[in-house]
């Protein structure tokens, strides 16, 4: 009885490790807009600010909001440490009742900090448990390298990431740029080119103007 159960478990477990996870569906790559794109008459771009930024990053990368970014592993970046830099308010202590209304010198640094933290966590999780990978799934690896930077899997995960973060399909220019990055990292002395590529692509999309403004 025990032996049978153990054998069943072995088969199931072995099955999990043997079947590679399916990559995301291939993207419906859009043609990149040319320079003649219609300009907004109003130009009323708004920065997302601390709550919306974290909510969106968390949702896109399937993290809990409190996992997106912490300082010293315990203090929330957006809601506490860097709240004001991200355009938040601090009414109860210093009496900052209204947001400044403009982004500060340190705002881009904090956005980068939040994006890099969240992306690192997502990539770590996807690489640690590829069977349950959320974004970077189905990417064949050769040790620490991407097995095939020119394969169809990379555009697929670029599409998945773009749909999750920007709620649209990627442009052809974006796909070719990120694939080129994979080739360059693959040829570089980078110790973990696959991880570095995933982090870099995720960071580029999550910290993009399109992602942090609305």
């Amino acid at each position: 009885m025990f032996r049978n159960a153990l054998m069943t478990l072995s088969v199931v477990t072995a099955g999990c490790f043997c079947a590679p996870p399916a990559p995301p569906p291939p993207p419906q790559v859009m043609e990149s807009p040319d320079a003649g794109v219609g300009a907004s008459a109003r130009g009323n771009l708004r920065f997302k600010g601390p709550e919306r930024l974290v909510n969106d990053v968390a949702a896109a990368l399937e993290l809990r909001a409190d996992q997106v970014c912490t300082e010293l592993g315990q203090y929330q970046c957006a809601s506490l440490v860097h709240n004001v830099a991200l355009g938040g308010v601090d009414p109860y202590g210093p009496g900052l009742y209204e947001p400044s209304g403009i982004t500060a010198v340190t705002t881009p640094l904090v956005v980068d900090r939040v994006a890099l933290s969240a992306c690192t966590r997502r990539v770590d999780a996807d690489l640690a448990t590829p069977q349950s990978a959320v974004v970077f799934r189905g990417v064949p690896l050769n040790g620490k390298k991407l097995a095939n930077p020119d394969g169809s899997e990379l555009p697929a995960v670029i599409g998945e990431l773009t749909r999750r973060v920007l709620a649209r399909e990627p442009y052809d220019r974006e796909v070719s740029r990120y694939v080129q990055l994979a080739r360059e990292l693959d040829a570089s002395p980078e110790a973990e080119p696959a991880r570095a590529w995933m982090q870099a692509v995720c960071f580029a999309v999550v910290s993009s103007t399109e992602s942090v403004f609305y």
Partner: protein, 466 residues
């Protein structure tokens, strides 16, 4: 002119700033955006009274040239229209737009960075946005971010685009606004409504009583947030933030607000309550130890009516004021221009007590001045409870609240709060027509229901045209 030169200057009361100026300008240009439901502040012509900006200097040069200064208010009011006419064709700030056009378009004739923007729509293709017209997909993304705090997913956007018609998409947008306005992000603790309330309530963590208690617990301002949120949600009248004779209890997980007749943290009796103007926190923080709490009056005027006396806004001078009952020297020429409005605005607070012994703290105390402040100044007990707001006499603070809540200023201020929250900035001159239509609907058609105001703002081009 001869009459002018002979007018005894004593009658001029030696005032240098001219609170009547706004009314005179608006009588001459009633359709000017600065005059629709409001009046321009002193800053329209002054850097800080009596120092004039470029436009004010040009007007002054054409205001009875050669006549001795200061002019009486009467002469000033009579002569100002002609002086304004004389400078209409000038461009005093050198921005390429004449003063008349700036007045008519709602930009500032003394500020070169403020001028009408005639932005023609280019109309070129844009794969993501309809840049020349209301873009429902763009509005949908914004609605979810503004009200729910998160972007729509790829699948949600596809589903939105797949809806059968624009009418159907508009109906869906309306439903989404209502759905999101019930979320914690919108109405929960530290949510969007609380953010609108912060500058009105002006909390201080170290003085907080109750939940999140501070080091010196004096009052619980979460009650103020609760009343504010209650009046801004559901089918409720936003004016009750000033007129309520009830309180609101907040429960959590999820946040719920409910109307109650009493709270242990509140002390003013029902007959003397005036919404968030008479809460324990408001009296603690804005009245404190003051006999005549001008700070309370000016804060409520600023917070709920959008009129900042420190910026010379909302000045409606009352004749024979300020009386300076508390001997603070406010009748001095430099002070009187503002205090002729501010002091009568403050009198209705005379019996509302701030910080004191347990027996009297944050309560309505009849004869409060006589009980606690009679030695402060010889005439201090003569401070009346009757006051004046917007040139309307009121018997007490509840009367003050009624006039304030029913004013155009309240509707404009409330609409501005949500305009800033949703559009991202105070109404710009080229958005003025939509803004005026929106606050008038809020006041007249919607009877001060914020929930309906939110739908109206989302429907404006200012919100939905990329």
């Amino acid at each position: 002119m001869r009459r002018l030169l002979l007018v005894p200057l004593l009658a001029a009361a030696a005032a240098q700033a001219k609170p009547p100026a706004g009314a005179v300008l608006c009588a001459k240009y009633p359709a000017a955006p600065e005059c629709v439901g409001k009046q321009p502040s002193c800053a329209y012509c002054h850097v800080a009274p009596p120092q004039r900006n470029g436009f004010g200097a040009a007007v002054e040069a054409n205001l009875a040239p050669g006549a001795p200064r200061p002019l009486s208010d009467g002469d000033f009011s009579m002569l100002l229209p002609a002086a304004l006419t004389a400078v209409e064709g000038l461009d005093t700030d050198g921005d390429g737009v004449t003063n008349l056009v700036e007045i008519q378009r709602g930009t500032l004739p003394a500020d070169a960075s403020s001028k009408p923007l005639d932005r023609a729509c280019q109309g070129d293709d844009n794969p993501q946005f309809s840049v020349c017209r209301y873009d429902l997909k763009y509005a949908y993304k914004k609605v979810l971010l503004d009200f729910c705090g998160a972007s729509p997913t790829f699948a949600q956007l596809k589903a939105f685009a797949a809806r059968p018609s624009d009418d159907d998409r508009k109906a869906f947008l309306d439903a989404e606004i209502d759905r999101c306005a019930a979320t914690e992000f919108w109405q929960g603790k530290n949510g969007q409504l609380w953010k609108v309330a912060h500058p009105k309530i002006r909390p201080v963590g170290s003085l907080k009583q109750g939940e999140d208690q501070g080091a010196i617990p004096l009052a619980d301002y979460y009650d103020d947030y609760a009343l504010f949120a209650w009046t801004q949600t559901g089918d409720r009248d936003a004016r009750e933030v000033l007129t309520a004779d009830y309180f609101v209890r907040r429960q959590t997980n999820p946040t719920r607000y409910s109307k109650v007749t009493s709270l242990t943290s509140q002390r003013v009796d029902a007959a003397h309550r005036a919404g968030n103007m008479t809460t324990a926190w408001a009296l603690t923080y804005f009245v404190m130890f003051t006999a005549l709490p001008r700070n309370a009056a000016s804060q409520m005027y600023r917070a709920y009516l959008g009129l900042d006396i420190a910026k010379q806004e909302g000045l409606y001078s009352v004749p024979n004021e300020p009386q300076d009952y508390d001997a603070k020297g406010v009748a001095a020429r430099e002070c009187a221009a503002c205090h002729a409005t501010l002091d009568p605005l403050s009198y209705p607070w005379r019996n509302y007590n701030g910080i004191s012994s347990e027996m009297y703290a944050t309560r309505y105390v009849p004869n409060r001045i006589e009980l606690g402040f009679s030695a402060e100044a010889p005439r201090i007990t003569q401070i009346p409870e009757r006051g004046v707001i917007f040139n309307q006499p009121v018997d007490d603070l509840r009367g003050w609240a009624r006039v304030a809540a029913d004013s155009d200023a309240f509707a404009i201020s409330t609409t501005t709060d949500y305009w800033k929250l949703l559009v991202g900035h105070a109404p710009k001159p080229d958005e003025n027509a939509e803004f005026v239509a929106t606050w008038k609907r809020f006041k007249n058609d919607h009877q001060y229901r914020v929930q309906k105001l939110l739908h109206d703002i989302v429907k404006t081009e200012a919100y939905g045209v990329p």
